[in-house]
Structure formats: C-alpha cells, structure tokens
Symmetry: C2
Subunit: 344 residues, 2 copies
C-alpha cells in the first residue's frame, strides 16, 4: 500500500537543501530564519506531507502536551450523573484551544488506582485534574509531593493547599432551605452525600445553618446519609420517613438522590409537593423531567470544568504560579416539587 516510511526532519532538510536545525526553527516559529530558507522548508514540508513526531519531541523537551482528567468511579456514577459529562465538556473546550491532549482515567478499584499513579510517575502527562476527591484520598498528596501541577474540582477539606474550584455549595444549600422555609415548611430533613467528601459536608452545613438561623431544629434525626446514587437517595428517604413520618420537606444534596427520594415518597403514599416538598442539587436534565419537576440548585458545572483546565494550564506554563481557589456562584431554580411558583 504505497505506505512509505514517514518523513523525518532530516528528510525535509535534505529536500529543502538546508540543515536539520533550520527546519526545526521553522517548525517552532523561530524568527531567526531567512525568508528564503523558510519558504524552502515550508514547501518541502508540504510536498513530503511531513508531520513532526511528538514522541521524539517529548523526549527532549520532557513535555507531553497532555493532561490527565481523573474520575473516581467506584460508585459507577458516571452515566447517571450528568455532572461528569459537563465537567469533561468544559475541560475539553479549554484544552482544545491550546492543543493539549486529554487523557481520561476512570478509577474504579485499587488496581486502577495503582495504574494511575504509575502512569503519572511515568510522566506521561504534564498535569492532573482531579474530580470528586474524598477527604483521605492519598492521590492529591502524592501528586503534590511529586511536584506535578494539579488542580481539583472540589476540595479535600476547608484547608486545601492545592488549587481548586468548586461552587458555593454551602450558600446553594442554604438558599434551597430558605426557599423551603419561605413556602411555610418547618420540618426540613436532608439527604446528604458521603460525608468524607467536602461537597457533601458543605451542603449539609448550608442546610444546618439556614435552619439554625431561622431558629428551627437541625438535629441528627433530620439527617440521612446517602451516597449520591438513586438507590441511596431512596433508602435514605425511607429511613427518614420511618423516623419522622410528619416531615414536610427534604433537601437532597443531588438531583439523582432527589429523584430516588421522589420514588420512595410516592411509594409511601405522600404527594409532592402537597405533603412533602423536595429540592435537589445540580439542576441536571433529570430535574426538568422528573415527576413532578424538581426544584434544584443550579451550579455552573461546565464552567467548573473550564476553570480547572485553565488554572492547570497556567500552572503547567509557570509552576511558580501561586495556588488559587475559585468559588463559583449557584442559583436556585424553582419548579413544582417545592410548591413554589414554577419557573418552567
């Protein structure tokens, strides 16, 4: 199949009648090349259909022009959670602008985790984006120690030395609860995410604060722990109903858990929002189409993705860039499930 050998920089140099270095300079846009030589090289490149070998280049420059996006997926949430897709989209948009490759790494078990650290140690990437970190995840610390640029979507805890981006989870949750109180609800329970994640703790904290500020109880009997899955939300709702048959509102820390809660409420014979009002978090596509449509806290997920990517590129570009953290605003989208006037 006329599959000739791929041309190298040497072939091009010979064809253009110049040295290797000159070709290299043209490729990399150096100014120190005469117009004549430049033209000759460009012509040769076009004729030979030459494309630089990025692996060879990477060997000498020790840059790979690619970053890793790490998504832990033990709970197989990718798929049900549109969150990850949106983050990917945001990341991808920014990376495309700078011709940076995106390595996607789904980490399910310990084996894949080991592979990941090995891959990172091999310096196959210039930096790492970490999504959905847990409190005691060893990975961020390892990356920090290795001196590899790293940016988190979310954070391990309130003191997060690494650069990170997250939305105003506490404020969003508080707004959700205030909205429920405004509708006249007084027994507002909550379904949390896994409490070893800051997102989950922050949303719980927002719920608590809003209640306390209103002088209402926020005791542990109003809290059920979920795991950001539909089944988890369903189970949490069931346990809440057993403990507090007379609750009149629930704030779920994610839409997926909220729709699980909706199913359980219906099963138990409650009407939403008449008997129990429900608010979720994420404002995903699910919220618009659930029955009833779900009031939810909207967060700019795609923007989180683009922001972490941008921060990472800057740190790769200049490793002395100080670590930063960015908080993005949330917005409450009211629909039928909370009994307020619908936005749709």
């Amino acid at each position: 199949m006329g599959e000739r050998q791929r041309p190298t920089i040497k072939t091009v140099a010979a064809r253009a009648g110049v040295g290797r270095t000159t070709v290299s300079r043209v490729i990399n846009g150096s100014e120190l090349v005469s117009d004549k030589a430049k033209a000759a090289v460009l012509a040769a490149i076009a004729e030979l259909n030459y494309v630089p070998n990025s692996v060879a280049r990477g060997l000498v420059t020790s840059k790979t022009n690619s970053v890793a996006l790490v998504i832990p997926e033990s709970e197989s949430r990718l798929g049900s959670e549109p969150y990850f897709s949106a983050v990917i989209r945001g990341v991808s948009t920014v990376l495309a602008e700078t011709r940076t490759q995106l390595q996607l790494m789904l980490v399910r078990d310990q084996g894949e985790r080991d592979q990941l650290t090995a891959s990172v140690a091999e310096r196959r990437v210039d930096g790492v984006l970490l999504v959905s970190v847990h409190e005691h995840d060893p990975l961020p610390g390892m990356l920090e120690e290795m001196g590899l640029p790293t940016v988190l979507a979310g954070r391990r805890g309130r003191q997060e030395p690494l650069s990170h981006v997250h939305s105003d989870n506490e404020g969003g949750a508080a707004a959700a609860v205030r909205h429920l109180l405004d509708q006249g609800r007084t027994k507002v329970a909550t379904i949390t995410g896994p409490l070893d994640m800051d997102v989950a703790r922050s949303r719980l904290q927002g719920w608590r604060e809003a209640l306390e500020r209103a002088g209402l109880p926020a005791g542990p009997e109003l809290v059920a722990r979920g795991d950001f899955t539909e089944d988890g939300g369903r189970a949490a709702m069931r346990s809440l109903l057993e403990q507090l048959p007379d609750l009149d509102a629930v704030f779920a820390a994610s839409d997926v858990m909220a729709v699980g809660a909706l199913l359980e409420l219906r099963r138990s014979g409650r009407r939403v929002p008449d008997d129990v009002a429900v608010v979720g978090f994420d404002d995903s596509i699910l919220a618009r189409h659930s029955n009833p449509p779900l009031t939810s806290v909207s967060q700019p997920v795609e923007k989180i993705g683009s922001t972490i990517a941008r921060l990472l590129l800057e740190e790769i570009d200049d490793p002395r860039t100080p670590r930063r953290h960015v908080v993005l605003p949330t917005r409450l989208v009211v629909r039928e499930s909370s009994g307020g006037p619908s936005a749709d």
Copy 2:
C-alpha cells in the same frame, strides 16, 4: 525540595552492578536473566524508585499504548445523552485491563477536527475509536487510508468496511412499534434522528417495516425529523401534531427526543398514554423518571463500548486481523407512557 533527577535505566544498571540491557530485560520480563542479576536489578529499581520513561520507550518501539476515543459533539449532546458516558465507561473498563491509555477527543468544529487529524497523523495513538459517525464523515476514510486501526460504534452505511459494533436498531424499533400496535394504536408516527446517520435511518426503517407488515400506512406525513436533542424532539412533535391532530402513538428514536415530545404533548393538552402513547429508545435514566415513565428500547451501551475497545486492541495487536462487525441485541422495557402493563 530534594527533587532529585529522575533515575534512568543507566542509574539502575550502575546501582545493580549490571549492564543497561540486563535492566531492560528485567523490566520487559525476558527469561534470559539469571536469578541473581534479576534480584539485584529489582532491588535497585525499588531503592531508586525507578519508573521507565514511556516516552523514550515509545520513541524506539513506535507504540504509544494509547488509543483515541473520538466523540463528535456538534450538537452538544454529551451531557444530555447518557449514551456517551456509558460508552466511555465500557471502553475504559477494557482498556484498563491492558494498561492502555484513553485519549478523549471531543470534536465540535472544523478547527478541532483538523487538530484531531493532525494528532492522529503524529501517531500519538495506536488506534482510534469513532462514536456516532455521520454518513459522509471523511474521518473514517482518512484513518483507513493511513492504515491506523479503527473501530466504529455505529456505521456509515449498510456497507461498512471498517470494523464496527452497533445494536439491533432496526429490530428494536420494530419491536417498539409492534408493542404500540398491540396496545391497539393505529396511527403511529415517528420522530427520527438526523438521517445522515445510520442509527437514525435504521430505526426509521424498523418503524416502517413493522407498520407495513401490519398493513398500516407509513407515509411521510407520519415522519418528523429530529436531531437527537430535546428541543428537536419537541419541535418534531409540534409539527406532527399540526399535520396529524389525530395520531395516537409516537415512536421517538431517542429518549431525549421522547421527553421533548412529552413536554409538547402536555402543552397541547394531550394525555399520555390515554390520547397518545410514546416509546423512546435508549432506556436511559431519563426514561425511568419522566412523567409518565417512558417505555423505551434498551440497548447495551456499555457493552458497545467494551466491544469496540476489545476489537480495537485485537487489531492493534495484529493488524492483519480481518475486519468484523458485531450486532448486539435490544430489549423493550415497557412503562406507563405506552399504556401497556408497566414493568416498574
């Protein structure tokens, strides 16, 4: 920061008191090494915390151990379509087993398309997975010409020379329509995807066949073209209702379009399923939670992902592997929207 120079194979050789080649042999699992030398090398590797440089290795072997997953995203469907997430998950599972990296490439516009072909030409990947191809997409042909192993999820047309995997779209669609007919419906319209995609054409064909086999009309007035988006589904539904106010069933070629249709039906005052029955395709998380819950054709999306990955790895391993195509079965999941006995 005690950030010493990374150890190379040479450092290890010196430390272990052997030659470079012996170290290389140990790393690559050659048998021709004495136990003593092997032990010494292994010890040195552990002490120095040595990790082979995959870029250097790639330069000499001209293998990158990574494949590209290309997702065209002009319609910004990633995010709303859980389809892509599931494919990613399936692909990732298989790749992890063989320590192959996954490069994710979202292609939105011509610029990104050019970047992609350049990146592929640079041989930064050993093979390419192509998802959601359109009929006249030049990319598959280019890849074929370059001799780069390529596997498609979906196909360009009935004659697809490249290896590909898809679900039984025609059969699934036909089953959906037969189910509607079983419920006593007689005016069954359809909302198609973009007809330059084989998935869309096949599902349309399945709809047509089932109707004709039942001796029912399947004329163009029963067909509205969508684009796999919610808004597209909504618009298509509207135009169908204008043309045929008395239709009593709709088969939409995707769940996302189906929920758009549901919104439009409600807006027009129709009850689902009493006045109009609706069936979707994909059986995504949306289907379970829409109002009413959506009868839908389930396809094994994650399996599509794992299958294309497996086929690709085999072609990379041995390029003389004959091209194959795999068809995976679908299954109808009945819920309320079609008026049949619900499965939930």
